[in-house]
Structure formats: structure tokens, C-alpha cells
């Protein structure tokens, strides 16, 4: 399958498709387009024709305990979306594919082979004046078989503690500088969900949005390499990315793992809402 993109890194790894490419494959039976937004009402107001919509807050997480979607629920979600194990999944969403990257990460946790992001996401599709549909696509259910969860791309608290105290991995805090410094506990306008502000000791601050151009597309491989390299993140050591709840960091995880091809990259989805609420956890405030 050809991949249309201007990013050399994306071409190399085959994980990005352009809006033109998506427009030409709206009715391709081998492909399922999925919208995942920060604003879970956006899909209902108009979406890429034939796309299904997933809600990150109810469908891409465990709704009882704090965790990613359980394997059985994941299989049901993909089956009800008409996705088989060989389907090519094209993800897109608002806000530079923020939660689309969160879905991408979970799809990789459960071993889906062919999943890609639409470069530029919903914003670029709308800015280009492309068709929006409010119709729900007709789906033929499938029986999806997920693999066991791949923990090589997911970091849990003990590993992050070790990374911080022993510098066993490089920590990248992808939140805004004001969240990193502890000046604010949550992005402006969003609820505060932690008790303390600051960051995990030893973490470098590289806000996730720096990986994107103004039109929402990803920067070139050269620019991305320079961005992370300037903070010493070169892929030679293991990297753990975190943010507030693990979605912004899945975007950075995608960049490091799939656009730059760094081998050992994990997303710490517990992120600051776990660390910043721990009793006696070390907190650094610059």
C-alpha cells in the first residue's frame, strides 16, 4: 500500500497517510477509518465519510479501574467496528491527533499489525474543506483476536521510579513548561487532577506539540531528530514519555518509536496524575 506523506520518516516506517490518500480510500474494504477526539462530541457533528468514532473516555479505557481497555473489551470494540486482524486502521482526530495517538498506542499494545495516522488529523481535513458526514457507516461485525498486551511499550510506576532514581531510562515530560515547573496543575481550562505540581526528578521537558507544524502535520524527521536530540534524546538509551494522563505522551511515544525509529520507548500512562498524587514521591521544581 502506498503511503502519501511529505515526511521522510513517515515514509520509511509507513505509519502516516495524507488526507488526499484517505479521500481516495473512503470506500476501501480493506481499510477502516476511525476518529478519536479529545472532544467526544466532535464525531457526531461531522466526520470523514465512512469513519467510525471511538470515545477515549468510555471505549479506550477500563471504566471500572484505572487502566487501558481490557483485552476482551478491545476485541469487542474492534469487532463491532468491522475491524479484522488484517484490516488497515487509519486513525485521526482533533488536536493534532492527540487521542488518535492514544488509540494507536493501545492498538500496538494489543498487537494490531497495520495501523496508521492521518497526518494533520481532523483539523487538516476541515481546513482543506473536505466532505463531512453525519451518517453512521454500515458495519459488518468481525471476530477480532487480540494478542497479549505488549508491556515493552508501556511503563508502570516501579520502572519509572527506577528510571528517575538510577537514571535507568531517559524520562521525557511532554507537558507544557508551566505544568512541568509546577506553576499550574493542569492545562488552562481543564480540571486539576493532582495534589502536587512539578515533575519527576531527572525528566527533560519537551512539550508534545513541538513535534507538529501549524497545520497539524508532523515535522520532518530531521526537525524531530534535532528537537529531541537537543535534549539528549537520541534513541541510544531507553526512553519513557509521560504527561498528565498518558495521552499527550502517547503522541510523543509515536514520534520517537514510529517516526524516528527509536527502539526502546515506553509510554507511562500513569503519568503525572499518578506520580503527582503519590505520598512521599520525589518531586522536582526547577
Amino acid at each position: 500500500m502506498a503511503v502519501q506523506t511529505s515526511s521522510p520518516a513517515a515514509t520509511q516506517h509507513g505509519v502516516l497517510v495524507g488526507t488526499d490518500w484517505v479521500a481516495q480510500h473512503l470506500n476501501d474494504a480493506a481499510i477502516r477509518i476511525v476518529e478519536v477526539d479529545v472532544d467526544t462530541t466532535a464525531y457526531g457533528k461531522g466526520h470523514v465519510p465512512n469513519a467510525v468514532g471511538w470515545a477515549w473516555d468510555t471505549q479506550l479505557c477500563d471504566t471500572v479501574r484505572r487502566d487501558i481497555i481490557p483485552k476482551g473489551a478491545f476485541e469487542k470494540l474492534l469487532g463491532s467496528s468491522g475491524i479484522g486482524n488484517n484490516t488497515t486502521i487509519i486513525l485521526y482526530g482533533d488536536n493534532n491527533n492527540w487521542f488518535a495517538a492514544w488509540a494507536f498506542w493501545q492498538l500496538k499494545v494489543y498487537g494490531h499489525q497495520d495501523v496508521r495516522l492521518m497526518n494533520g488529523g481532523r483539523k487538516k481535513w476541515i481546513a482543506e474543506g473536505r466532505e463531512l458526514s453525519t451518517d453512521t457507516p454500515k458495519i459488518t461485525r468481525t471476530s477480532y483476536q487480540a494478542k497479549e498486551a505488549d508491556t515493552t511499550i508501556r511503563a508502570f510506576l516501579p520502572e519509572v521510579m527506577k528510571a528517575s532514581s538510577e537514571r535507568a531510562a531517559q524520562l521525557v515530560d511532554v507537558r507544557s513548561p508551566q505544568e512541568y515547573s509546577g506553576e499550574i496543575l493542569a492545562p488552562p481550562g481543564l480540571p486539576e487532577t493532582c495534589q502536587r505540581g512539578g515533575h519527576i526528578p531527572g525528566a527533560a521537558n519537551i512539550p508534545w506539540g513541538k513535534a507538529c507544524n501549524d497545520d497539524g502535520t508532523f515535522k520532518s524527521a530531521e526537525e524531530l531528530r534535532a528537537l529531541y536530540g537537543s535534549a539528549g534524546i537520541t534513541g541510544e538509551q531507553p526512553v519513557i514519555a509521560y504527561c498528565r494522563i498518558g495521552e499527550r505522551s502517547s503522541h510523543t511515544w509515536f514520534v520517537l518509536k514510529h517516526l524516528l525509529g527509536y527502539q526502546h520507548v515506553k509510554n507511562y500512562d500513569g503519568s503525572w496524575t499518578e506520580w503527582g498524587n503519590l505520598v512521599a514521591a520525589p518531586v522536582e521544581k526547577p
Partner: protein
Amino acid sequence: MPKPEEYSERKTQLAGWPVNIVTFRLGAVYHTTIDNTDPGAWVVKAQGASKQASESKALQEAELLLEKVKKSKPPTGCTSVPGF
């Protein structure tokens, strides 16, 4: 199938915070989204019969919300607990 038209995007400050304002028309309705630039999460959404009506409604709501953001005192140093 409708197509979004009159797409516009601009940055400004509201209650001291940088925001991004996106408006487009879908059919007869103008849609405005205001996001907080960093990280870019939407703060408010509004609709109106004109661009001005949609944006002014969104701006009002966003300003009220952003005025409530608390800032902590300037950081004074490391509060690490050794041996954790």
C-alpha cells in the same frame, strides 16, 4: 454531503492565557472552537448563525473559564525525598 467552508484560525490571549480560535461554516451554522494552545485541548465550543455570533459566544465562555485557572507561587527549589 456538506463541506466545511470559511475556515479561519487565529491566536490571541484570554485572561492572560494564549488561545487558538478556529471557526468554520458547515451548512448555515458557524462552529467555533477555542483551545488552550498548549496543550491545545479545547476549552469551549460554540455555534452561531454568523461568524461573529459564534466567536463572541465562545470567547465569553472561554474567558470566564480561564479566569479561574489557579497559578501557584513561583517555584523555590527541589522538594525531593531522598531514598524514595
